[in-house]
């Protein structure tokens, strides 16, 4: 991708974002409902975790880890549901109906136009809730966070968002091979729920899965762990991002070769 394409892509993305915000401002009641529903989904997701950790006995670190994980999870899933998952949820339909043709003929990266052009700014409300949960938890548990911990949290939360977005895309891209795979989006959304629970609760093998090829822990519990104990080398974060994006690129290019468009 040359410099001009990058510039055009950024300009188009900014215009798409502005258009999405304008749409949300125009259909205000719908936006409010989405905001409320997003908040409701957040609460429904949080309550089981808090109820579970409420029984965790005398160990206060478990509750602390759970609350932080829930906060980080709200932030990362808010980002994902604003910028990535709306497009991925439409991808199966785009393949089946041949709408991908419209993305292929544009002078822009096809993946960008096919997947990342759908934006739902109202979902960013969850990011605000997530940040609020982390800040309140940090004061309540008197964590005394240093800059190193904050940098580790931010870097791993963003890396986790990209890695899980790429994993979700890998699943959605199965639409190139399998007819009507739309519910795979619900599967990806359900699986990421594992990221809300403290990692040590899961069996060892499952923990490995959660930080590797189905990285749900990277959108919640793992970055939260880095806030209290920033031990994971930050240099690993770009490696995780590059590896997950490389796999998605490979699947995308293979899938595109198979694509029988509506007009070709």
């Amino acid at each position: 991708m040359n410099r001009r394409t990058v510039r055009v892509t950024v300009v188009v993305w900014l215009k798409l974002f502005r258009q999405a915000v304008a749409r949300d401002l125009q259909f205000r009641s719908q936006t409010w409902l989405h905001l409320l529903a997003g908040l409701g989904e957040l609460i429904v997701g949080i309550l089981p975790v808090l109820i579970l950790t409420g029984f965790a006995g005398a160990d206060p670190t478990v509750r602390q880890a759970a609350v932080l994980a829930v906060g980080v999870f709200a932030f990362t899933t808010g980002l994902m549901d604003c910028f990535v998952s709306p497009g991925l949820r439409r991808f199966d339909s785009a393949i089946r109906k041949g709408e991908l043709d419209l993305a292929l003929v544009r002078p822009l990266p096809t993946f960008f136009y096919a997947v990342l052009r759908w934006i739902q700014p109202a979902e960013l409300g969850r990011c605000v809730s997530g940040v609020a949960i982390v800040v309140v938890a940090a004061f309540t548990f008197d964590l005394g966070l240093g800059p190193k911990a904050l940098v580790a949290l931010t870097v791993w939360a963003l890396a986790g968002t990209v890695a899980y977005g790429a994993f979700w895309a890998d699943l959605a891209l199965l639409a190139f091979w399998v007819r009507s795979i739309e519910p795979v989006n619900d599967l990806a959304a359900a699986w990421r729920g594992a990221g809300q629970y403290p990692r040590p609760f899961f069996p060892r093998t499952f923990q490995v899965v959660l930080v590797s090829f189905a990285p749900a822990a990277l959108v919640g519990s793992f970055p939260a762990e880095q806030l209290t104990d920033p031990t994971a080398a930050l240099v690993l974060a770009p490696v995780v991002v590059l590896a997950s994006c490389a796999l998605t690129t490979l699947i995308w290019s293979r899938g595109l070769v198979r694509y029988d468009s509506a007009s070709s």
């Binding site: 089981p48 109820i51 950790t53 029984f55 006995g57 160990d59 519910p183 619900d186």
Partner: protein, 249 residues
């Protein structure tokens, strides 16, 4: 058509199983780390193994389609037929459950085999009959709710938001995420009278409760909710039909 879109069915059922599976692993892990919930490990494991199956069998997704047919005037085609307008929705729900059962049951059996040491199911046929009865009642109640929500389209253009909030409440209070038995004690009175628990948690309770006599109150409340939702559905539907004005109606 479902056979044609078989991967749709597989992916859908996988997504249904994943949430209770994660919950099951997390709860068992927490108990291994010293957590002491008010239920036994066997109760929790059996409950979470069965919950996806029960959720699927008592679910209904008529509201969205009913609202659409009211909004777009497609209802006309059903109103002129010499049978209930909801017959197709009932048939659709039953047929869909049979198809889903084919893919979901093996997964649930597999889970039961993996956790067989902690899965305790009753041997008495009476309990299984009771389970079947409460499942049918739970499914009927959910369908009644669906008709009520879908029929709101007679008055409102868009009922998707109402449906989304209803599903959110149902997801949590039905016990589809965690058993109602582990929810805070203070919520007890509310949980006993709210309807959603009688669609998922109560049918499972009929298999897990040691003493069947304790289920009598639950059976009465479930029956009351089923009757209430059916009456409400009938009332809203009849009132709504009077307002309906589709092309040709």
């Amino acid at each position: 058509m479902l056979a044609h879109y078989r991967w749709w069915l597989v992916a859908m059922q996988a997504s249904v199983v994943v949430v209770p599976l994660i919950s099951l692993l997390a709860w068992r892990g927490a108990m291994a780390h010293g957590a002491e919930p008010p239920v036994t490990r066997d109760y929790l494991t059996t409950y979470l193994v069965l919950v996806s199956l029960v959720t699927m069998l008592t679910s209904s997704w008529t509201a969205r389609f009913l609202a659409e047919s009211i909004r777009l005037g497609h209802l006309n085609a059903w109103l002129v037929r010499p049978c209930s307008t909801h017959l197709a929705a009932v048939a659709n729900n039953v047929a869909e459950k049979i198809a889903k059962l084919v893919t979901l049951l093996p997964v649930v059996v597999l889970l039961a085999v993996v956790f067989h040491r902690d899965v305790e199911l009753p041997e008495s046929p009476g309990r299984w009959l009771l389970f079947g009865w409460t499942l049918a009642m739970g499914g009927t109640m959910t369908f009644g709710f669906d008709v009520v929500v879908g029929s709101l389209a007679f008055w409102w253009d868009e009922v998707a938001a109402v449906d989304r909030f209803r599903q959110l409440a149902a997801l949590f209070f039905s016990g589809a995420l965690i058993p109602l038995a582990v929810m805070p004690h203070a919520w007890g009175p509310f949980l006993q009278v709210q309807p959603w628990g009688y669609a998922v948690a109560f049918p499972i309770r009929t298999l897990l409760e040691p003493d069947a006599a304790t289920l009598r109150t639950g059976l009465a409340v479930q029956t009351a909710w089923v009757l209430l939702t059916l009456v409400a559905a009938r009332l809203v539907w009849v009132r709504g039909l009077r307002r309906y004005s589709g092309v040709g109606a």
